[in-house]
């Protein structure tokens, strides 16, 4: 009897050891950033290592615990450094990108879901294929259009337009899938009652689709919040940087302000990490469902 139980279940202790190690490796870089951020210094090292260190001193240098706790990096990154402005840029860009992108995607997804019209299939397919365009290929013409033709380099508006347009395909596919699940009878009933198409969309379908819209909006927000390449290419004036470009500014090239970087990273990451942990189950089902269908 005892033997068969062991057959069924492995002992838990080694599993805990294994998981503990894996978690340690996973969490270590995060702890490292936290200790640099709270060290109050700009260096990469957690602790100073003398020129001829003992084993203990070396061990001290890898333990993610600052030598002394200080919030100096947080206060000065927000006051002495233009980081507050960069975060503001990111917030403005991300919020308006989300609003614009969601508005465009909702209407388009609704049409794709509800109306039969010539070009429907082609439209959906072209949205899907556009996801395969290599970013760099469209980056050069986008740069020419936005910066050289429209003069929207170094402008939040330019970033908002570009991000919103690039977020459309993903959002449309997510939302269309949800609209498809809303029973058509509701709308038919409304039509009989004499509701116009606009009323049906705004007053009936959108409120029903609220959860899907909210989730799509949050993904759209996270994507523009985390975007780096486009922002780095379009925003070359220091006060127009977004947070990602600004963080890289702290530690790119010859700049070595790791304390500011760490503090800034924590400020920037917390909202998205929280959002992500809340949203990840939708992301997984959405992504895998999409690729199975496609």
């Amino acid at each position: 009897m005892a033997r068969s139980r062991r057959d069924q279940e492995l002992p838990h202790a080694p599993l805990h050891v294994f998981l503990g190690l894996a978690t340690l490796v996973t969490v270590y870089p995060v702890l490292w950033v936290v200790s640099i951020a709270f060290s109050g210094r700009q260096t990469l090292a957690i602790a100073d290592v003398p020129s001829d260190p003992t084993f203990l001193q070396r061990l001290r240098a890898v333990v993610p615990w600052p030598q002394q706790w200080s919030t100096a990096n947080f206060t000065s990154v927000m006051t002495d450094q233009p980081f507050g402005r960069w975060v503001l840029n990111s917030v403005v860009v991300a919020i308006f990108t989300t609003l614009l992108g969601i508005f465009l995607s909702c209407t388009a997804a609704y049409a794709f879901s509800r109306f039969k019209f010539p070009g429907r299939r082609a439209g959906m397919m072209s949205f899907l294929i556009s996801q395969m365009f290599p970013g760099v290929l469209t980056l050069i013409p986008l740069y020419i259009i936005m910066v050289q033709v429209l003069g929207l380099g170094n402008s939040r508006l330019g970033m908002i337009i570009v991000y919103a347009a690039t977020s459309i395909p993903f959002s449309v596919w997510m939302l269309k899938g949800y609209f498809d699940t809303i029973p058509k009878e509701l709308e038919e009933a409304a039509i009989i009652e004499g509701a116009s198409a606009g009323t049906i969309f705004w007053r009936i379908v959108l409120p029903l689709a609220k959860p899907a819209v909210a989730i799509t909006a949050l993904f759209s927000f996270m994507t523009s919040w985390n975007e780096f390449i486009l922002a780095a290419t379009f925003m070359d004036k220091e006060d127009m940087y977004t947070a990602p470009v600004g963080l890289r500014f702290f530690v790119g090239g010859f700049s070595q302000q790791w304390g500011y970087f760490a503090a800034g990273s924590i400020i920037v990451s917390i909202p998205v990490v929280v959002l992500f942990l809340y949203l990840q189950k939708y992301l997984v089902s959405g992504l895998t469902a999409g690729s199975v269908k496609g």
């Binding site: 998981l19 508005f103 388009a108 049409a111 072209s126 395969m132 469209t138 347009a165 990451s269």
Partner: protein, 643 residues
């Protein structure tokens, strides 16, 4: 609903399409004529400038000799407003209106004459640069339009083969650009329309006959029109060549007579070398005796004609397409479709417009760019002038120079496309393998029933996926720092040497691999965990009853159940990793020497660090092609496995 008359539709199509073609053709033709006329004027002015330069050079290039040469030359050269010779800070000679009396040359350049000094410096630099690079990139002969309508030209003054100053010449206002009359273009529309009127009477409503007739009439009329226009351009180009040759003969005799009267040695300069391009390379269209070299001229005419002919052909094709679209009722039907489905299109229009302008148009533009030699020096020019056909693709795909021979061995050529591709594939395969293995392993362990702290482990293990990946990249870059990085501290703690991670391709790769593995395993873990939890426990129960071992149960139950979830996840993760720009760009930055570059970062660097836009675009198209091929194969494969 009554069908509108085929006759009227074709007539409208003919007029509209013909009108469009005529309008475009007029634009192209007048552009071409203006360009030919302006080029001719510039070349004539350049000949004069080069002639006087050679006279000044043979007079020794300074002092009274140079001044007398300038005076003698200008007496015989009408149409020249002023001439200045500058060497360094010194104005050697000048015939400008203000430079008389106390201001007369020779004297130091005044403060407000700085533009002349700058110009001399610029030209001297251009000469040296071109000589070093053995080619032409910077203008040695500068031509500017003056507000008065004349030209201001400057060319280097060479003594003993080195630029010592410049000669600058200002011409009188040029004759106005030729205007192109409208009537031939109007006729090209009216004549076929009138002829089609006759056909309409005869053919009635037979659609095929009408279509053929309208197409034929429009094509014939546009053919005649473009023949005429092209012939005219050729003629004007020949006239321009003749007038340049005439200017060369004039100048040759002027220089000869001036040399005699000043008692200078006969100039050694060859008049054939006066007609030059901006890089002082003779065009070769005029011979030493001032006659036109017919073969060269005809080649130039041919070039001009082909250029215009191509534009006209495009206009004609566009017009024919429009004619057929209108005539066969496509526009009519399109209009009706839009009307019927108005609501749907209104809902889609905003999104579609945004996608068109910011996604599809850039994509098409990028593909066009890939056939050109566009780079930072020539962004102003129209793409048609930079067309190089498939050359970029040839350069990328046809370059098999993997290694360069240097003293004592070989050096890998990391800029080579195939090297980058190979590395990119290796990078993808290693990453996905590690991601799947570690993710699956952790999922299996986490799936153990009644394991304490399971939700805590799960949240902590997902953390890397939640972090923005550019931050992850920068964190790991810091941890791999040679002197202060944690990784090297750990190495030293256990008695190993500190490694300079980004100094060797392999260690650099390891650094990027570690970073990417860290951030990519949670995705696989979450996907596998979801699939594992959906496997009904009865299956294992049944297997146990049947006496299957743990391994057998894994092989027969777990793996097949994971498959539907894992296959799409792997497909997705292959594409993500293949294009993982942020990790490579921020962690290794391609170090050392571009060896750890993947295709997408390489393309980015060609565009935004080496500024070769056309080449970078071709590079990206190749990447797109690779992904497309992968997509098609993957689709086949997953279909085959589903069946």
């Amino acid at each position: 609903m009554t069908a509108p008359s085929h006759r009227l539709r074709f007539l409208a199509g003919l007029v509209l399409a013909g009108g469009l073609a005529a309008w475009l053709a007029h634009g192209f033709a007048s552009d071409a004529r203006r360009r030919v006329a302006a080029d001719g004027e510039v070349r004539r002015a350049v000949v004069a400038l080069r002639a006087v330069t050679s006279l000044v050079e043979s007079s020794g290039g300074e002092g009274d000799g140079a001044r007398r040469a300038v005076v003698a030359w200008q007496a015989g050269a009408p149409g020249v407003v002023q001439l200045r010779v500058a060497r360094g800070m010194q104005l050697e000679a000048s015939s400008a209106a203000g430079d008389a009396g106390g201001q007369a040359a020779p004297r130091r350049l005044a403060r407000e004459e700085k533009p002349l000094y700058d110009r001399a410096q610029r030209i001297a630099t251009a000469v040296r640069t071109n000589r070093e690079e053995q080619g032409g990139r910077k203008d040695e002969v500068e031509v500017e339009r003056l507000p008065s309508g004349g030209l201001s030209l400057a060319a280097p003054l060479d003594l003993d083969g080195a630029p010592v100053g410049i000669v600058e010449l200002e011409t009188a206002p040029l004759p106005p650009a030729p205007s192109t009359p409208w009537w031939p273009f109007l006729l090209a529309v009216l004549v076929p329309a009138a002829a089609f009127g006759l056909v309409m009477l005869l053919a009635g409503q037979r659609r095929a006959v009408l279509a053929v007739a309208a197409t034929f009439l429009l094509a014939a009329s546009l053919f005649v029109l473009s023949r005429g226009t092209v012939a005219r351009i050729g003629e004007e180009r020949r006239q321009a060549a003749a007038s340049v040759a005439e200017r060369v003969r004039e100048q040759a005799s002027l220089v000869r007579s001036a040399s005699v009267s000043l008692g200078l040695p006969a100039s050694a300069a060859d008049p054939a070398g006066w007609d030059v391009d901006p890089f002082r390379r003779p065009r070769g269209e005029v011979a030493s005796d001032g006659s036109v070299v017919e073969t060269r001229r005809e080649a130039a005419v041919e070039e001009e004609v082909r250029h215009l002919g191509r534009s006209l052909l495009a206009a004609a094709l566009l017009a024919l397409a429009l004619l057929l679209l209108i005539g066969l009722g496509a526009f009519h039907r399109l209009g009706r479709t839009i009307k019927v489905n108005r609501q749907a299109y209104v809902y889609i229009a905003p999104a579609l417009l945004g996608m068109m302008v910011l996604v599809f148009y850039p994509f098409t533009y990028g593909i066009t760019l890939s056939f050109t030699d566009s780079n930072i020096y020539n962004t102003q020019k129209p793409l048609a002038d930079l067309w190089v056909g498939l050359r970029n693709y040839g350069d990328i795909l046809g370059d098999f120079a993997f290694a360069k021979k240097v003293e004592g061995g070989f050096v890998f050529n990391y800029l080579n496309f195939y090297w980058t591709l190979l590395f990119n594939v290796f990078w993808t395969v290693t990453n996905v393998t590690i991601g799947v293995t570690s993710g699956l392993l952790l999922a299996l362990v986490l799936n153990t029933r009644a394991l304490a702290l399971r939700p805590v482990y799960r949240v902590l293990l997902i953390l890397p996926w939640a972090m923005p990946n550019y931050i992850t990249a920068l964190i790991w870059k810091g941890m791999f720092h040679q002197q202060f990085g944690i990784i090297n501290q750990l190495f030293q703690m256990v008695g190993l040497q500190a490694v300079n991670w980004f100094d060797h391709p392999f260690t650099s790769f390891l650094a990027a691999l570690t970073t990417n593995a860290w951030l990519s395993f949670p995705f696989m873990m979450v996907v596998s965990l979801g699939a594992l939890q959906s496997i009904p426990a009865d299956l294992y129960e049944a297997a146990r009853v049947d006496g299957a071992s743990r391994w057998q149960a894994f092989r027969a139950i777990t793996l097949p159940s994971l498959r539907p979830a894992l296959v799409p996840a792997v497909i997705l993760s292959v594409v993500w990793t293949f294009n993982m720009f942020n990790i490579i760009y921020l962690v290794t930055a391609g170090d050392p020497g571009g060896s750890t570059e993947i295709l997408i970062t390489q393309a980015y660097k060609f565009a935004f660090e080496r500024y070769r836009y056309g080449y970078a675009a071709a590079y990206s198209v190749v990447i797109f092609g690779i992904l497309l091929v992968y997509g098609v194969f993957q689709n086949r494969y997953s279909k085959a496995t589903e069946a």
